[in-house]
């Protein structure tokens, strides 16, 4: 299933997402046809169990999909909708058959800030942590105040309309499920974007001539490219590990590690890609910034690397000297599928 997903999303994004699409998206344009094509492939409901209308894909199967959303800077919340629908499925609620679904923590009467793609969302999955319930809300009639992250992606402030609740159920997942799930998808998106940055930077280093030869001939540039590649590889490996460990909800320590490492890698990787591309890559006309600005944004969303490191560090300190190694090995242990 994984290879099939990978192949179909990579083909779709190669055809449907280019620099012009991304430029338009930043001015507020939304592509119904892109979303319709993703729905036609069954992607938004892929993680939903079969009896609730999905195809029961595991997070291991879906890792390449979310990574590809990062490498192509896809201007649509497929990762968010995948998570939102999976959360509904985990509570036994049948997800809506169609439409953008996003997720957040909070209650139905307060302002929800920084909601990804709030303006496009047809549905919202809300985790009410004080009551331990998960609700599906209709976004029709919600008050939406537009805001964006540093990459120009919608991160809106939303107040739900009264009577928005469609259905709800008890949810026994951890109280920080929303933050963990967000960290999980962002780590894969970061890995994808870093992978693409590595390809772009290597290609540019082979093409750009200075001092009479491609800049990639210079060891100083080669060393930088190697550093970029290792950061991308580390982010990819640890993000994939976090996806392999995720079940109904993400595994805490592996996901915390993934977001911490991917976050640091995002900072270093974006800096190197800009260094290699020189002033040309600093222009709006060049497409480099569609990835680097997203890396900056995704690094801070759902907890920065320092925040996740701190939480992880408290657990490790609590485990003490003899608990350290078991704690580390536990993060990649084989876990039964549900």
């Amino acid at each position: 299933m994984r290879a099939m997903f990978q192949e179909s999303v990579e083909r779709l994004f190669a055809d449907a997402v280019d620099a012009e699409t991304l430029r338009l998206a930043e001015t507020g344009a939304w592509s119904d046809s892109l979303w319709a094509q993703m729905e036609a492939l069954g992607l938004p409901l892929a993680a939903v169990s079969e009896d609730l209308g999905g195809i029961g894909a595991s997070w291991t199967d879906l890792f390449p999909v979310i990574r590809a959303c990062g490498s192509s800077a896809v201007p649509a919340p497929l990762p968010e909708t995948l998570v939102a629908n999976a959360l509904l499925s985990a509570c036994g609620i049948a997800p809506p058959e169609s439409g953008v679904t996003v997720f957040a923590a909070g209650d139905a009467v307060s302002v929800l800030r920084g909601l990804p793609w709030g303006r496009q969302a047809r549905w919202l999955v809300l985790h009410d942590t004080t009551r331990g319930r998960l609700g599906l809300h209709d976004m029709t009639g919600a008050a939406v105040e537009h805001d964006v992250n540093v990459a120009g992606e919608p991160r809106d402030a939303v107040i739900l309309a009264s009577g928005s609740l469609v259905s709800d159920a008890a949810f026994d997942g951890p109280p920080d499920t929303v933050r963990l799930s967000g960290a999980l998808i962002r780590s894969a998106q970061i890995a994808g974007a870093l992978g693409r940055l590595t390809e772009m930077s290597a290609q540019y280093a082979n093409e750009r001539i200075q001092f009479g030869r491609p800049i990639g001939k210079f060891q100083a540039v080669q060393q930088q490219l190697a550093l970029l590649a290792t950061q991308a590889a580390a982010a990819g490996a640890v993000a994939e590990a976090a996806f392999m460990q995720a079940r109904r909800t993400p595994h805490f320590a592996t996901t915390a590690s993934a977001k911490a490492v991917a976050g640091e890698a995002a900072g270093r990787g974006a800096a190197i890609a800009h260094a290699v591309h020189g002033a040309l890559g600093f222009t709006h006309e060049h497409s480099l910034h569609f990835l680097t600005r997203r890396l900056w944004a995704w690094r801070t969303e759902y907890g920065s690397d320092a925040r996740w490191s701190e939480r992880l560090g408290r657990l490790i300190a609590d485990a003490g000297e003899d608990g350290l190694w078991p704690f580390i090995t536990e993060t990649l242990k084989e876990r039964p599928q549900p």
Binding site: L225, T230, A234, A241, A256, S257, A306, R314, A317, T331
Partner: protein
């Protein structure tokens, strides 16, 4: 890592040396993943595994892959029994990062035997090992990567001189090994004459990707974890957590390379990635410890941590030298990206 033949033999009796070798050569037909688990646990526990380590990690797989049947029968069961130890003969006084410039020569004589002359250096445990797999020039007219071959040198042969070299901490675990008209039997050649470069490069994938490439500073990390106490402040928690997160990432990468090795692939690029990041991580553990050392509550644990820091700090420069320097690895990585 301590050198303890008794420990190595005991480990072998337990069935934990030569795990991936076939049963017919005294091995256990285990997978690379099983070997990975055993290696990691030994390193994490700080076990004295250095006697058999290189033989088990890279010499035995090399002999199994390229060696003649007689070599397999002679060496593999002894390695799997924890009784025969190997060292690596790659670097020379004038050939460090530029390994293709090796000048140690093995000239074939009319009787088919080889006459070995030259010098290898930085050879870990040469003084306590039985044999070396040396990368030597067998075609005197050749240059660079062509004309190199690998030979097995029994280190008690006449004409082999081993001189210890003291490192910055005062330890003597690496050596200079001089060959002065050493006569090797005809069957000392491993694999194919002239294919030594390719063989040595794939051997390095075993050397560069394993858990020893990121666990050298684990004892220091363990000490720090204890020394900050059960309720660290925010800065301590960030530093400890950062070390934990990168360790998780490095294990994920190393396990992935193990999978590629198990699948018969030659993951030179990915192995170089693990080594570059892993050795940087080990050195960063020292940096982290230095940043935290003043913040530790004054306990016995803090004093232990200072001692472990001093030892690890003394070794740290070698982490990114042994098995290929950082700069060379990054060149390999860049070439792997298609940059030339």
């Amino acid at each position: 890592m301590g050198f303890d033949p008794e420990f190595s033999r005991a480990l072998a009796r337990q069935g934990w040396v030569g795990l991936t070798l076939p049963k017919q050569y005294g091995g256990h037909d285990a997978t690379s993943f099983e070997r990975f688990v055993v290696s990691e646990e030994l390193l994490a526990a700080g076990a004295p595994v250095s006697a058999h380590w290189i033989a088990d990690r890279q010499s035995a797989p090399l002999i199994l892959r390229h060696g003649a049947e007689s070599q397999k029968q002679r060496y593999l069961p002894a390695i799997a029994a924890g009784e025969m130890y190997f060292c690596i003969g790659m670097s020379e006084p004038d050939s460090g990062s530029d390994l293709a410039s090796v000048r140690t020569r093995a000239d074939r004589q009319s009787d088919g035997r080889w006459r070995l002359n030259g010098r290898k250096v930085w050879t870990t445990n040469a003084d306590r090992c039985h044999a070396m797999i040396a990368l030597v020039r067998t075609d005197p007219a050749s240059e660079r990567h062509a004309g190199l071959s690998q030979v097995i040198v029994d280190l008690d042969l006449p004409g082999v001189t081993i001189r210890p070299i003291r490192d910055i901490s005062g330890h003597e675990h690496f050596n200079e090994v001089t060959f002065d008209d050493v006569i090797l039997e005809a069957d000392a050649l491993v694999g194919t004459a002239g294919e030594g470069w390719a063989q040595a490069t794939s051997e390095l994938a075993f050397e560069r990707s394993g858990p020893e490439r990121f666990l050298s500073a684990l004892t220091l990390f363990r000490c720090l974890t204890e020394a900050v106490g059960r309720s660290p402040d925010a800065r301590q928690a960030v530093e400890i957590g950062r070390l934990g997160a990168w360790l998780v990432a490095l294990r994920a990468m190393s396990i992935s390379v193990t999978g590629q090795l198990a699948g018969g692939q030659d993951p030179v690029w990915a192995a170089s990635c693990v080594k570059d990041l892993g050795t940087g991580y080990e050195q960063d553990t020292v940096e982290t410890a230095i940043r935290l050392i003043d913040s530790l509550p004054e306990t016995d644990q803090a004093r232990t941590t200072r001692r472990v820091l001093a030892v690890t700090q003394g070794m740290a420069p070698s982490f990114s030298l042994r098995g290929g320097t950082r700069e060379i690895l990054r060149g390999i990585l860049a070439r792997g990206l298609g940059v030339r």
